[in-house]
């Protein structure tokens, strides 16, 4: 009888913790993936896709345009849905993402928006996710640094 009481005490302490853990695990807003997964997938721009590649993708793929409203008309990718970036994680948009069987391609007129959205969705566990880029490599330095061969900093060094 005494033993049973102790079991009950242990169960009473552990059960709420277990319930809290299960609730947290089922919370769709909690990130579950390892950050290294995102790092791995961005390696060598493996998560980028060009318009040429996009044309070759199956019809089951979906382009999500996160651009500013004014820029929507300039793109003619099909099938494309427009989602305001602030509403990307709304339940109805999460449902669209969950439903899509093929590749999901994120696009925004500002590449920083699509890149941040890509990391967030990747860490929420969405796979087969790409960023549409209009440039082959958006991270190329377009300028060449011209060193000043006459630069003198002796006074600073002495």
């Amino acid at each position: 009888m005494n033993q049973l009481k102790k079991f009950k005490t242990a169960a009473l302490v552990l059960l709420p913790i277990l319930i809290l853990v299960i609730i947290r695990m089922n919370n769709p807003d909690v990130f579950k993936e390892s950050v290294s997964k995102a790092m791995e997938e961005t390696k060598d721009h493996g998560n980028l896709i060009t318009p040429d590649h996009l044309k070759k993708l199956a019809a089951s793929s979906l382009v999500i345009d996160l651009s500013n409203k004014d820029h929507h008309d300039s793109l003619q990718f099909h099938p494309t849905i427009y989602i305001s970036p602030e509403r990307l994680l709304d339940p109805e948009n999460r449902e669209i993402l969950d439903r899509t069987k093929g590749t999901v391609v994120l696009y925004a007129d500002d590449v920083a928006i699509s890149s941040k959205a890509w990391i967030i969705l990747n860490q929420l566990g969405y796979s087969n996710l790409y960023i549409l880029t209009l440039e082959e490599d958006p991270e190329v330095l377009k300028y060449k640094f011209q060193p000043d061969t006459s630069a003198r900093l002796e006074e600073e060094l002495n």
């Binding site: 005494n2 033993q3 102790k6 079991f7 242990a10 169960a11 552990l14 913790i17 277990l18 853990v21 299960i22 695990m25 919370n27 769709p28 807003d29 909690v30 990130f31 579950k32 993936e33 390892s34 950050v35 290294s36 995102a38 790092m39 961005t42 390696k43 970036p85 602030e86 990307l88 994680l89 500002d110 590449v111 920083a112 928006i113 890149s115 941040k116 959205a117 990391i119 967030i120 860490q123 929420l124 958006p138 991270e139 190329v140 330095l141 377009k142 300028y143 640094f145 011209q146 060193p147 000043d148 061969t149 630069a151 900093l153 600073e156 060094l157």
Partner: protein, 203 residues
Amino acid sequence: MNARIIFSVWLVGLGIIVAFLPINGAESFRLESKELLAKSLDEVHYISVDQAARYLNNEDSTVQFIDLRSPEEFRECNIPGSVNIPFPTLLDPAWEATIRQKSTRTIFYGNGDQTAAYAWTIATGKGYKNCFILKGGLNEWFRTVMNSNFSGDKITPAENARFEARVNARKAFTQINSLPDSLKSRFFSTKRLKQSKLDGGCE
């Protein structure tokens, strides 16, 4: 015997809890997704190249620039005083103390906006405070600061101040990046020494 049974029950209970936890819990983002998304759309975490030029000119010690490019690109040119953390090594534990800052503002930059946006989202998601992005990266720095040119007749005081800051930043950028690597490190250690003397600290 009783103590053993109680201990076993606790162990089994904790085991079940651990089994439900994400395996890589320690490596996952701390923020909730909606909070991170809202933060990522807030423009306050962007630093313009003109602001960066002012920080450089003032040798602002509350700001640190993190260059996310490769060591080769970094050696060719960088914003003076930057720390080179190539993006693929961002999660290296050796960098944690550098990125996790309480009062120093960490400004990430690459050549464009993409790598800095990745790094910012990862650092902020992991709960690091005071992280910023240099808007437009080094391409914007070259376009605005390095190639700045005034060709009008009249200049307002604000424009004049901005133009002067760009010219000074350009001068510092060019001078320091023109030095050989050995002199660059000597230049910064001499500067630190001078600063510590001015502050009245020890060498």
